[in-house]
């Protein structure tokens, strides 16, 4: 039961982060907000794995964290080369 409460709090935090991902004035703001959302989603996958007692959720969480890391590095590399629009 406490796992469901923690999941609801984490989804609330995801929605609050999504506000910044929509509003964010520059591209790095959006990237930072999406990075936080992905970390919280990985956490929620681990919590779901505990709740349903299924180990497959953890494999998905590991691959998701790895791909988000690569994606963040690729976006950072792309952003370095260009001037920001004011």
């Amino acid at each position: 039961m406490i796992l469901i409460g923690v999941l609801i709090v984490i989804f609330g935090a995801c929605i609050i982060c999504a506000v910044r991902a929509v509003l964010g004035p520059t591209a790095p703001d959006r990237v930072v907000a999406m990075d936080a959302i992905v970390a919280l989603m990985t956490t929620s996958l681990v919590l779901l794995g505990v709740y349903y007692n299924a180990s497959i959720y953890l494999d998905v969480a590991l691959v998701y964290a790895f791909l988000s890391f690569l994606g963040t590095l690729a976006i950072a590399k792309y952003l370095e080369g260009r001037e920001v629009e004011s």
């Binding site: 923690v6 910044r20 919590l47 007692n53 890391f69």
Partner: protein, 108 residues
């Protein structure tokens, strides 16, 4: 006893996630928001995952959770540093009330 520790980790972790998410919305510029992002990841995600891994019992489950925790713990500073470097190089302004920018002084 060990379940009590797991519940405390879950509680502190979800509180950290909520506070860090508020920080991401409320802070004034990109560099401050990166600080709030690391609060969400290290305080919220890793502590909650540790609590869940303890609650799952000692099995292959805990081992996989530890692998995910170590990976996120190593990957988050790298990605935060890359984003901050890219933002500074592409000319994102600091907040107007920031007092010092040592990297800009160093480049001149």
């Amino acid at each position: 006893m060990i379940e009590l520790i797991a519940y405390a980790m879950l509680g502190i972790g979800s509180a950290c996630a909520l506070i860090g998410a508020m920080g991401i919305v409320r802070f004034p510029d990109v560099y401050n928001r990166i600080h709030a992002n690391t609060v969400v990841v290290v305080g919220g995600a890793i502590l909650t995952m540790m609590g869940a891994g303890i609650l799952g019992g000692l099995s292959i489950f805990t081992l996989k959770a530890i692998v995910i925790i170590i990976f996120i713990f190593l990957a988050n500073p790298v990605s935060a540093h890359a984003i901050a470097r890219a933002a500074h190089r592409s000319g994102v302004k600091l907040w107007r009330r920031s007092v010092v920018d040592k990297l800009k002084e160093e480049k001149q």
